[in-house]
């Protein structure tokens, strides 16, 4: 155990103790209010570039297992909690969280007044931070923090996207795929792939830099735009690709994918003060007035007022702050949501949205019969 400091951009700091890993890390500090699901959070590529603070104080209780990872690695840049569990208990656990974090060389600290930190972030907004076991000098820390790039305008997608195209087979293994889905991987969570696969989709996962032509080339039934880290406005190459896909194929976007779709449709995005990161956000489906409790993880948001054409329809709204949670288009077969219907972690209330995507593909399949590759 070594003393550690979390130094924030605004000059405030919080003290804690590191686990085995020492050194320094930086990133945007955000808090997550989910009480379960730390393994999913750690492995969610959308957290690339961020230091995550868990508001629930006891972390690591059920260890880490082989089934609940959301990607092949850990993506958070730092991890801040009140207390790490020394002795986990769960029949599926294969490792303790502490071992796991050490193995992945994540600078993780405990003993922090995470509630005070959360309150600070709520009032002052998410901000850049340095996590260090080496440097406790505020002047030096202040200097260093200036050099960290801001989250706004930062392209973090390139750090987490697949290096080359791969196929996630339909499940259960061996069953005949009903749909071929092209997924643009901006940091896709495995549970999205698991769900699509279980609904009969063979998912062709493309690197985020893939061109529209490459996607058309596999002749998919639909396109999926994944979640991912950073500022959506910074990934203009994906926006460009999506713009070309609009109207040609059924599209389903989640989180960053939703924001990218918003931008491709001519809208704008903006940064939220401290974002939504948790598993208890009420979202109202404006089409049937149903309220679902959703899993959320985003720092940016689509601006409802930025759509001028009148063709974009807002279909989901967050009941806590009335922000846009989902949209569709009057002409194009597309659907996107800001929250995470794949959950992991979080409630499964919105999982029905995947079925909407399937339905869109079914309908489009009937309508265009065959080659959707034309423009």
């Amino acid at each position: 155990m070594k003393d550690a400091i979390l130094y924030l951009e605004d000059g405030s700091s919080f003290l804690g103790r590191s686990l085995a890993i020492t050194g320094e890390t930086d990133g945007e500090v955000v808090f997550n209010t989910a009480m379960t699901g730390y393994q999913e959070i750690l492995t969610d590529p959308s957290y690339a570039g961020q230091i995550v603070v868990m508001t629930y104080p006891l972390i690591g209780n059920y260890g880490v297992n082989e089934e609940d990872a959301e990607s092949s690695g850990v993506h958070v840049k730092g991890f801040v909690v009140k207390e790490f569990c020394r002795y986990h208990s769960n029949y599926r656990a294969t490792q303790s969280l502490i071992e796991y974090l050490n193995q992945h060389k994540i600078l993780a600290i405990e003993g922090v007044d995470t509630r005070a930190l959360t309150r600070h972030l709520r009032v002052c907004g998410a901000m850049k931070a340095l996590l260090s076991t080496e440097d406790f000098d505020s002047k030096s820390l202040a200097q260093k923090i200036k050099n960290i790039p801001s989250m706004e305008g930062a392209d973090w997608v390139k750090t987490v996207t697949a290096s080359s195209k791969y196929v996630w087979p339909v499940s259960p293994a061996g069953s005949r795929p009903r749909f071929k889905v092209a997924a643009i991987d901006c940091g896709i969570k495995w549970n999205i792939l698991r769900i699509l696969a279980s609904l009969g989709c063979e998912v062709h996962v493309f690197p985020a830099t893939a061109s529209a032509e490459e996607i058309f080339a596999i002749n998919p039934d639909g396109v999926f735009l994944s979640n991912g880290p950073g500022d959506p406005a910074a990934v203009s190459y994906v926006i460009e690709t999506v713009r070309k896909l609009l109207g040609n194929l059924p599209i389903f976007g989640i989180c960053l994918g939703h924001q990218i779709l918003g931008l491709a449709l001519g809208g704008q995005t903006y940064k939220l003060k401290f974002g939504h990161h948790g598993a208890n956000h009420p979202v109202k489906d404006l089409l049937d007035n149903r309220i679902g409790i959703t899993s959320q993880n985003h720092g940016f948001c689509v601006d409802v007022k930025s759509f001028k054409s009148g063709e974009v329809e807002i279909i989901d709204v967050n009941l806590n702050d009335q922000t846009v949670e989902g949209l569709r288009h009057k002409k194009f077969p597309l659907l996107s949501v800001q929250h995470h219907p794949e959950a992991a972690p979080g409630p499964h209330d919105a999982q029905y949205l995947f079925k909407h995507f399937i339905k869109m593909m079914e309908q489009e399949g009937h309508r265009v019969t065959g080659s959707p590759g034309h423009k």
Binding site: F14, G37, T55, Y56, P57, D321
Partner: protein, 1096 residues
């Protein structure tokens, strides 16, 4: 959807007396419902037989009926009030069962009363085990394998199929009464027959044992638009096999991965929808196999429950309030979250702390009962503690239990406890198992071994081991350095160690530890309970303490000071902590009233309490709520932050009073009667001097610090004597002893209770009438609010005896004497606030038995009976108001008679004799009101679930002293067409006096065996006054059988006379029902128009 406009008047059912399994959580839910519905403009008709509830305060409803909670009485009320709808989901199982009966009898249809929250079919589907099981299997969820049995043959068959052990659960009972585990065929006979008998429909479910599985509960809310949210998840530390009410439980669930939690959540949503609970809160229990993760559904309550109250306090999400709003048509998104103001109720609370609930048991009051926990609930109360870690919350909870522990400490020297005793205490769940876990770990047992023996999840044991290990570190550090440095001291506080625990380790006083750590800057910080883990700003000041860096109470207080121009004075009210026998809802009622009253006067009120069931811990009750243990340390921590202008210690029962002296010494501004006066009343010698000085009479007495001294005193004043420790409530370890030998045995037995306190010895006055008086004094004038005449003679604890107000048999001059003595005593003690005195009356002689310058258990009863809110007035007096400012009218004008009857928990403790004595045993009380004593008494008996028969056979067996007096009573009974059956001795006396009586030999094994009569339900009433030790054990089996078969059993002659009165009053006519508001109106209109204050 907006609120319904097709209904105007709503009937709300309460849950009746406090019993094991149904306590003040339903006062909390009912009170919230009353407030929520009246806020919406509905007219509320409330029925509850329990006068100690806040909800039965006349200002909470339009018509308040303190009437028995039976289908018959509720029908009378429906007939009279004609409500549009009935809301049965907030009054526990009692309310639900009544609503079901009313529906079955066609009453609701006849009067066109709609059922809100859940309808008949829904309740049936959730409560009927077979229907429920079918529904669960239908939606693809798993349940324990099981079968039903209606007789022993069927039971055997099912058990053989499932394999032992099996669980036996009776259908339609409360808190698992009559259920049990059977490990073999022999046990099955016993458990199954008991279960079949205690089931309302003579049916038991026999199921595969899932004992030792992990146990969880989810609190679910649904609205009419089918939106469903989970308010809270709860994990039981004690695994399946121990009733949830008896388990240490933790919120949120600790050892579920998100995947497993979401599976459970999905199941809960599916269940609520399948069962069809239309609106409101439900509670669903799950069990999870720790090795395989197999999840089975255990049961569902389609109503607000004990766990909902816990979940509400644990999260800040007011389930009952929202349930009431949903019941009248609102949807979750239309209701605002009071705490955040900006977000709707359609969300799931997330918490950033750990909550631990610990049950409080009372086996010490029932020494014959085995301290073993099972699926039938035994605990009488609970405490909840909040901390940033489990370790902190657990230690806070343990010191908040007030059972002599100062945390996760050692009461026994672990080295002296034999290993096999530890093993047994670990394997067999029991009230003190938590401490045996520590002893086991201290003795070097591994975490795995302890988990294996107890089936408690490793996670919990490992957390306990961390505390044990850290304690070793503390001891070693102190050993080495002779002090503890700031770093280690801070960690100790973060681990929840109390100053008292540290004082033991550091060999210094608690006050010194406090001073030392404060010097080091180690002070408690307060955090908010805000439903959202700080994601939104919270406006409701509901705090808990922890050791962190930021103190939100300080921040909020500063903010408030900036905003408000005038500084309001602050009064802090110390609550009563966990419920126990002798200290329960009555004191919480007083604390709430203090808060209400002071708010009226413009004070800022601060409540401190640790009992999650209560109204006082509702964030709406006071301006600020501190959910904290009632210990010196925790109260002083709040003092440091709040710096109140006054602190009230006389409303929360013995708990705050026990702290009073130390608080005063520490400079706490205690208001009302001085701490010295409290001591004067408790201190035997000082009190005796005062009694003498005032020219009053008390039974000869003395106080002793050793057994030898006690014997000397007893010999001097003469047996029988009443022996007890000082400074206890509820007659704990109080006994009447008739000779020296029993006195010695008693002192030996009660050693632990006496520890450090003197033994009080009083001359016991036989055959005296006991009178309870509640009064208010402002230091100059005294208002005698109520003189209650006990039905049982002195010698039965006042909390257990029935009483009547106004005193209906006392002569005017005795009443005047009582009033004068009360006033003299109040003035002599300089009482400012409430005062309770117990008198014994023998002939025309008035003895003073006991004076308590504080709120008493009878304050709510007197307030309800007279319409004078005593606790409110007393609170106002304590901040300087004068009695003359209130238009107080003595109770003499009342046109109705009120009877308070106690409710006893004997059916929960098999093997315990039901005889009453000076040690209090009752858990709750009911009230009967009517124009005559007979009717009021009859109502009180019905409400206490021991309705007097109107016809049938009465068994009479009395002690020799009572034999002469019983003749007239027996004659009266035969006149009323009852037949009488007696044992030889009593029968002889009755026959020789011309009473026709059937004789039975209590030892007879033949057909005419009395037990057989009872079992065949041929006896309708038992009058049995036991004498001495021998006869007590003689008739014990009979009394136990009476309890089991619910035959009213009267154990005093006075009680028998009251029963005769009651039977006479109710014979051949219907009862009348009236609301409190009507009673008060009548009494007022009869009263002389000169509404001047009459002060005695």
């Amino acid at each position: 959807m907006p609120k319904r406009t097709d209904i105007k008047k709503i009937l709300l059912l309460g849950s009746g007396p406090i019993v094991i399994g149904q306590a003040c959580e339903f006062d909390y839910s009912g009170t919230q419902a009353c407030k929520a519905l009246r806020e919406e403009g509905y007219e509320i008709v409330l029925v509850n037989s329990n006068p100690a509830t806040i909800m039965t305060d006349p200002e909470f409803s339009d018509a308040t009926y303190i009437e028995p909670l039976t289908p018959e009485f509720v029908e009378y009320i429906i007939e009279k009030e004609r409500p549009c709808a009935i809301l049965p989901t907030l009054g526990g199982q009692t309310a639900l069962n009544i609503a079901m009966k009313l529906c079955e009898r066609g009453v609701l249809e006849k009067y066109n009363v709609k059922m809100l929250g859940a309808n008949y079919d829904v309740i049936k589907k959730a409560e009927d085990r077979e229907c429920f099981k079918k529904a669960i299997l239908k939606i693809g969820l798993d349940v324990p394998r099981s079968g039903f049995a209606h007789n022993l043959d069927e039971a055997r068959k099912v058990a053989v199929e499932l394999g032992f052990p099996v669980i036996v659960r009776p259908s339609f009972t409360l808190g698992g009464t009559g259920g049990g585990i059977a490990h073999d065929a022999e046990e099955l006979e016993r458990v199954a027959s008991l279960g079949i008998e205690s089931s309302m429909i003579h049916e038991v479910l026999i199921e595969e044992s899932i004992v030792g599985w992990k146990e969880y509960e989810l609190e679910v809310m649904r609205d009419s638009k089918d939106n469903v949210v989970i308010v809270c998840s709860i994990e039981n530390m004690d695994p399946m096999g121990v009733h949830t009410g008896d388990s240490i439980t933790v919120a949120p669930a600790q050892t579920l991965t998100d995947r497993e939690y979401q599976t459970m959540r999905n199941a809960a949503l599916a269940i609520v929808r399948e069962i069809g609970v239309e609106t409101g809160g439900s509670n669903i229990q799950f069990a999870v196999n720790p090795q395989t993760g197999r999840m089975v559904v255990i049961e569902m309550n389609p109503r607000v429950s004990r766990s909902s109250a816990l979940a509400s306090k644990a999260t800040g999400f007011p389930i009952a309030k929202f349930a009431a709003k949903l019941a009248v048509g609102y949807s979750l998104d239309e209701i605002r979250n009071d705490i955040t103001r900006e977000t709707p109720a359609s969300f799931e609370p997330t918490i950033d702390y750990c909550v631990v609930k610990i049950p409080r048991f009372t086996f010490e009051k029932f020494p014959e009962a085995k301290d073993i926990l099972g699926i039938s609930m035994k605990s009488v109360g609970e405490t909840m503690a909040i901390g940033r870690t489990f370790k902190e919350a657990l230690q806070k909870g343990l010191r908040g239990l007030e059972i002599g522990h100062i945390g996760f400490d050692n009461k026994l020297n672990y080295q002296e406890i034999p290993d096999d005793k530890i093993r047994t205490r670990l394997i067999e769940p029991n009230a003190s198992r938590i401490f045996y876990l520590k002893y086991a770990l201290q003795k070097g047992m591994t975490v795995e071994a302890v988990a294996e023996l107890t089936k408690i999840d490793l996670w919990f044991i490992a957390q306990l081991a961390q505390i044990v290990d850290f304690e070793r570190v503390l001891l070693a550090a102190f050993e080495k350095d002779k002090t503890l440095d700031a770093k280690i001291l801070r960690q100790a506080k973060e681990y929840g160690f109390s100053d008292a625990q540290l004082a033991q380790i550091m060999n210094m006083t608690e006050v010194d530890v406090r001073a030392l750590r404060k010097k080091m800057g180690i002070v408690a910080t307060f955090k908010l309970v805000d439903t959202c883990a700080a994601e939104f700003e919270a406006y409701t000041p509901y705090y808990y303490s922890t050791y962190e860096t930021e103190d939100e109470a300080v921040i909020q207080n500063k903010k408030r000071a900036l905003v408000s121009k005038t500084k309001r004075k602050r009064i802090m009210i110390l609550g009563g902590g966990p419920n126990r026998i002798g200290q329960g809802i009555e004191f919480d009622y007083c604390c709430c009233h203090a808060a209400f009253a002071l708010k009226e006067l413009g004070y800022e009120t601060i409540m401190v309490n640790s009992n999650p069931e209560t109204v006082s811990t509702d964030y709406d009750t006071s301006d600020r709520l501190y959910f904290e243990p009632l210990t010196f340390e925790d109260v002083m921590n709040i003092m440091d932050v709040e710096k109140p202008d006054g602190v009230i210690v006389q409303f929360g029962g013995q708990t705050p009073l026990n702290l009073a002296r130390r608080l005063k010494k520490a400079g706490v501004p205690i208001i009302g009667t001085s701490v010295d006066s409290i001591d004067l009343a408790e201190n035997r010698e000082r009190f005796a001097k005062l009694v003498n000085k005032l020219g009053l009479v008390q039974p000869d007495n003395g106080s002793a610090t050793s057994a030898k001294e006690a014997m000397k005193i007893a010999a001097k004043i003469g047996y029988p004597v009443l022996a007890r420790p000082s400074y206890v409530l509820g007659g704990r370890a109080m006994r009447i002893v008739y000779d020296q030998e029993s006195l010695l045995t008693f002192i030996e037995e009660a050693k632990e209770v006496f520890s450090g306190h003197p033994i009080l010895i009083d001359k016991f006055i036989e055959d005296a009438m006991e009178v309870d008086v509640d009064a208010i004094c402002d230091g100059k004038e005294t208002f005698v609010a109520g003189i209650m005449e006990h039905i049982e003679n002195a010698g039965i604890h006042s909390g257990d005896s029935a009483c009547v107000l106004p005193a209906h048999t006392l002569r005017e001059e005795v009443l005047e004497q009582i009033k004068k003595y009360t006033s003299d005593m109040a003035l002599a003690l300089h009482v400012v606030g409430l005062l309770n005195i117990q008198f014994a009356i023998k002939g025309s002689k008035v003895y003073i038995l006991e004076v308590n310058p504080r709120a008493s258990r009878t304050v709510p009863f007197v307030s309800k009976a007279t319409g004078t809110p005593l606790a409110k007035i007393a609170a106002k007096i304590m901040v300087g108001r004068k009695l003359s400012e209130f238009k107080l009218v003595p109770a003499d004008h009342l046109k109705h008679i009120s009877v308070k009857e106690s409710v006893l928990p004997f059916s929960r403790f098999s093997g315990v004799d039901i005889v009453l004595g000076p040690e209090m045993k009752s858990t709750g009380e009911v009230m009967g009101i009517a124009a005559t004593f007979g009717e009021a008494f009859a109502k009180s008996q019905i409400a206490a679930n021991s309705a007097l028969p109107r016809i049938g056979k009465i068994f009479i067996s009395v002690k020799d002293e009572d034999k002469r007096n019983i003749v007239f009573l027996a004659k009266k009974m035969t006149d009323m067409k009852f037949s009488i059956i007696s044992t030889v001795g009593t029968a002889k006396v009755l026959r020789s006096n011309g009473v026709n009586v059937e004789m039975v030999d209590k030892h007879d094994e033949g057909k005419n065996n009395l037990l057989t009569f009872i079992k065949k339900n041929e006896i309708n009433l038992i009058i049995n006054t036991p004498s001495g030790k021998k006869s007590q054990s003689d008739m014990r089996a009979i009394r136990s059988a009476a309890i089991l078969h619910n035959v009213p059993c009267i154990t005093t002659l006075q009680g028998a006379w009251a029963a005769v009165n009651g039977i006479e009053a109710s014979a051949g006519k219907d009862f009348t029902v009236q609301s409190l508001q009507e009673y008060y109106m009548k009494s007022q209109s009869h009263q002389v128009t000169t509404s001047s204050v009459k002060i005695s």
